[in-house]
């Protein structure tokens, strides 16, 4: 009995030792239930293929992801691999949280990235790649075919054929008088100001109008965000709200396809297609974003994968990221979720975005009009200041004053951080 107990204890110690010998890779991510399950299954497959590695997934809800990340930083518990929202990349790299990813990722994945995907993962100072993703994103203009036909609207065939500002505003006015239309457009104010939506979706309207949130050479916002083209663009949007043409924030995010189809157009993300098409079938028209000025502009960027500087096993972390991005089941799930392709091979395998597909115009925007959000460490302030200004403007505030206040707030933060060196040297 004593011998048996001794053997059992020795075996337990040996097994315990074996368990401890495993390399643990912590992976922090967000996502809905489908993605959470999919990541869990990918981790299991990776562990089966690499028995000496344990993947520990750390889930944080989308809305509280930044808080979770801050807590991880403060408690020195950064994971090895983390999912991050692309516009925050510059801030994370500047703060020293991420390491260059190119030497850690399989070459075939790197060669497979679309231009927009490379852009969203690149740090502008050293031009190094710090993150990679399977997917990207865009915003398009959805239309209700019946309403558009009723007002005799021209349906653009591609990005080069997008509506001009005059056409767009003319159609809004006509739609506002059309029977059955309660609101000519849903700009998804219902997403509120807690999400990135306002900067992500409305920023390109400013860029198309000929201005930006910040000058990307001098990294000064005063003189850019409060310049005449920006004031004009936001005055135009304020007019839509004042005229009652825009679905109010309190009416949620379903008015385009809700009963009776009260909203005629929707300035919505690529992900909106699945839920709108499920309800509207052939009545849905997907169009490029209108040209509000000299050029077309559309947003890009989504949640991508980076490897932190805290990782003690960056090679294994990189191996996991490469494994995950090639995983067939993960790609199939992404396809079902109408994910916007960030890898060329994934695009070729996504009929929704392929030539002739219902969302082809969205993918066309990636190469023709996509502009990344400002890749600067002050981005968290840039986005919060801009969102606050837009909220104030939509609630009837003075456009010029709101934009100037936001621009000053952004510049103050940059000054307080001594220009975020070496960004201050980039002129």
């Amino acid at each position: 009995m004593g011998n048996r107990l001794l053997s059992f204890l020795m075996a337990s110690v040996a097994l315990g030792g074996l368990a401890e010998a495993k390399t643990v890779i912590h992976v922090m991510h967000q996502g809905d239930p489908g993605w959470v399950s999919t990541y869990g299954e990918v981790a299991k497959r990776f562990e089966a293929a690499n028995p000496d590695v344990d993947i520990e997934l750390i889930y944080a809800p989308h809305d509280a992801y930044n808080e979770k990340f801050s807590a991880a930083v403060m408690s020195k518990q950064l994971p090895d691999v983390m999912e991050l929202d692309a516009p925050f990349l510059a801030n994370y790299v500047w703060s020293g949280y991420l390491q260059p990813i190119k030497p850690l990722i399989d070459q075939d994945i790197l060669d497979d990235m679309t231009e927009s995907n490379v852009a969203q993962g690149t740090y502008p100072v050293d031009k190094e790649l710090y993150a990679v993703g399977l997917t990207d994103s865009s915003v398009v203009l959805y239309g209700n075919r019946k309403y558009l036909e009723a007002i005799g609207a021209r349906i653009p065939k591609g990005v080069d054929d997008a509506w001009t500002r005059e056409e767009f505003e003319g159609y809004l006015e006509k739609l506002s008088k059309l029977e059955g239309v309660k609101w000519p457009i849903d700009t998804f104010r219902g997403y509120g100001i807690k999400t990135e939506w306002i900067t992500y979706a409305y920023g390109p309207i400013l860029q198309s109008a000929g201005c930006d949130l910040i000058d990307r050479k001098t990294w000064k916002s005063v003189g850019t965000l409060d310049s005449d083209p920006c004031v004009d663009a936001l005055t135009m949007m304020q007019k839509w709200v004042k005229n009652g043409w825009v679905v109010p924030q309190s009416s949620g995010t379903n008015q385009f396809f809700a009963e009776g189809h009260p909203a005629a157009l929707a300035l919505g993300g690529h992900w909106f297609y699945a839920e709108a098409a499920a309800s509207m079938k052939d009545d849905i028209v997907v169009m490029p974003l209108p040209k509000f000025g000299p050029k077309g502009a559309s947003p890009n960027g989504t949640w991508i994968w980076g490897i932190t500087t805290a990782s003690e096993h960056p090679e294994i972390a990189g191996k996991f990221v490469s494994f995950m991005l090639k995983d067939k089941a993960l790609r199939n799930y992404a396809k079902e979720d109408s994910a916007y392709p960030g890898l060329k091979s994934f695009a070729a395998d996504s009929p929704l975005y392929a030539n002739g597909g219902p969302m082809a115009v969205a993918f066309e925007q990636a190469s023709k009009t996509a502009i990344a959000r400002p890749p600067h460490p002050a981005y968290p302030i840039i986005t919060s200041a801009f969102m606050g200004a837009v909220d104030e403007i939509f609630n009837g505030g003075d456009v010029k004053a709101a934009l100037t206040a936001a621009a000053e707030k952004i510049d103050e933060d940059i000054e307080e951080n001594d220009g975020y060196p070496p960004f201050d040297e980039q002129q």
């Binding site: 912590h26 889930y59 009963e259």
Partner: protein
């Protein structure tokens, strides 16, 4: 004169009765409207949890169809009741119940003892301690959350049940509630027990605690709701499914791109049940505690 006065009195009495009747009607109508306002979102939640098409739920919102289900299904409940797998909602629910039970149980003991000592103890400077306890109440939880995260992480407590229980057991509000309740009990009770040779702990346990059911019920309910609804704290201090509560799990349904209304609604219904049961179990004392507080000022 008196002949004339009698019909006048009767008329006035009739008028008064009619006025009271009208007032009651208005009161009933008001109560019905308030009840409708309170109950309708809960009813909508229940109805939506029985629909298995998340797009349909979204499309129905804002119309009366949100209050009607033609083909009720329990599939959402089945999906959010699993005890294993990547999203083991059943497990999260059990985690929440365990955290709730431990927090409330330990909280009742710790806070009532502290309240009793502050009310009847012989500690010098009790008034000062009480002032400090009250002063602590005004500090919002959010303002101390990050230092607390660092503390528990350095103590190696992250990703445990203890980290979700221990920091919230002692609460200035509940200590004060118990203090106020104990302080109102007659001094003679304490003195008589003391004369019989009972220790302070014995007096607390055998005399004061059994008399404080309304306070215990109030603290149980308030503490239970607080613990049950914890969201940010568990996100910050837990990493895996091991000790995560249901409130965090429900947030999974609110993704970046889409919201899974069907399962979110079913999980919300399940999440509501225990706290509703807690309230129903203690409501008699809870209400009497509030009424008592109001009467005593």
């Amino acid at each position: 004169m008196s002949d004339l006065a009698i019909p006048t009195l009767q008329t006035e009495a009739r008028r008064e009765r009619s006025a009271i009747g009208s007032l009651r009607l208005v009161q009933t109508a008001c109560i019905l409207v308030i009840a409708l306002v309170i109950v309708s979102p809960l009813f909508m939640l229940l109805i939506a949890s029985l629909k298995d098409d998340r797009f349909q739920i979204l499309a129905d919102m804002g119309s009366f169809r949100a209050f009607w289900v033609s083909n009720p299904r329990l599939s959402n409940f089945a999906e959010v009741s699993n005890l294993s797998g990547e999203l083991a909602f059943g497990r999260y629910l059990l985690n929440s119940l365990f955290i709730l039970g431990c927090t409330v149980g330990a909280g009742l003991i710790v806070n009532s003892m502290a309240g009793f000592v502050l009310a009847w103890g012989t500690l010098r400077g009790r008034a000062l301690v009480l002032s400090l306890v009250i002063a602590l109440y005004v500090i919002p939880q959010e303002s101390i959350i990050m230092p607390l995260v660092i503390m528990v992480s350095r103590a190696g407590m992250t990703d445990t049940f203890a980290v979700q229980i221990v920091p919230w057991v002692a609460s200035p509000l509940y200590i004060f509630l118990f203090y106020q309740f104990f302080a109102q009990l007659p001094k003679e009770l304490f003195e008589a027990a003391e004369m019989d040779g009972a220790s302070v702990f014995r007096i607390y346990r055998s005399i004061f605690l059994p008399l404080s059911l309304p306070a215990l019920a109030t603290v149980s309910i308030l503490m239970g709701i607080e613990s049950w609804n914890q969201y940010l704290w568990p996100i910050l201090v837990t990493q895996t499914d091991y000790a995560r509560p249901i409130a965090v799990a429900i947030a999974t349904f609110f993704g970046q791109d889409s919201i899974y209304w069907d399962r979110a609604m079913a999980a919300s219904v399940l999440m509501m049940i225990p706290i509703l049961a807690l309230y129903l179990a203690f409501q008699r004392w809870f209400v009497s505690s509030f009424v008592g507080s109001a009467v005593k000022g």
